[in-house]
Subunit: 92 residues, 2 copies
Amino acid sequence: MYKATIAITLRPSILDPEGKTVHRALENLGYDPVEQVRMGKQAELWIDVETEAEARRLAEEACDRLLANPVTENYEISLASVSEEEVREMAQ
Amino acid sequence: MYKATIAITLRPSILDPEGKTVHRALENLGYDPVEQVRMGKQAELWIDVETEAEARRLAEEACDRLLANPVTENYEISLASVSEEEVREMAQ
């Protein structure tokens, strides 16, 4: 069992109004050192396959076909092996 | 200059209807090995401070005061040093 953590971010050329709003809110709270904010999504997928290569292939396909918009978004996948026990605890 | 990448996830006990919907959509596309999906947010903050410790303190405060809901969400901050040049490229 693998856990794929997928960070889905807007491509740099795409405007990010949510990030701009958060940036302004942080400025209003006095956090002047914050120069820029970009907001994105994170998806966590628990995938029951034997090898990390299979997990990566499936996660990439899931991104390409469903999770990410190829025109406006980039994605980055990181994989970790997890035990069935961790998954059971998580489900409680 | 530091870049803080903040993963904001729902606590395990909190229902995640968006994750359930994505899970069902992946099943409909035939991705049966996917056992569970959880959706979260990602915030990227570019912070102009001298030390990593300052950057972490500011990012934590931003999470506690604005970005994350302490009742329903967890957050995890990772920091990387970035050059002014990278920031300038990014802004173009």
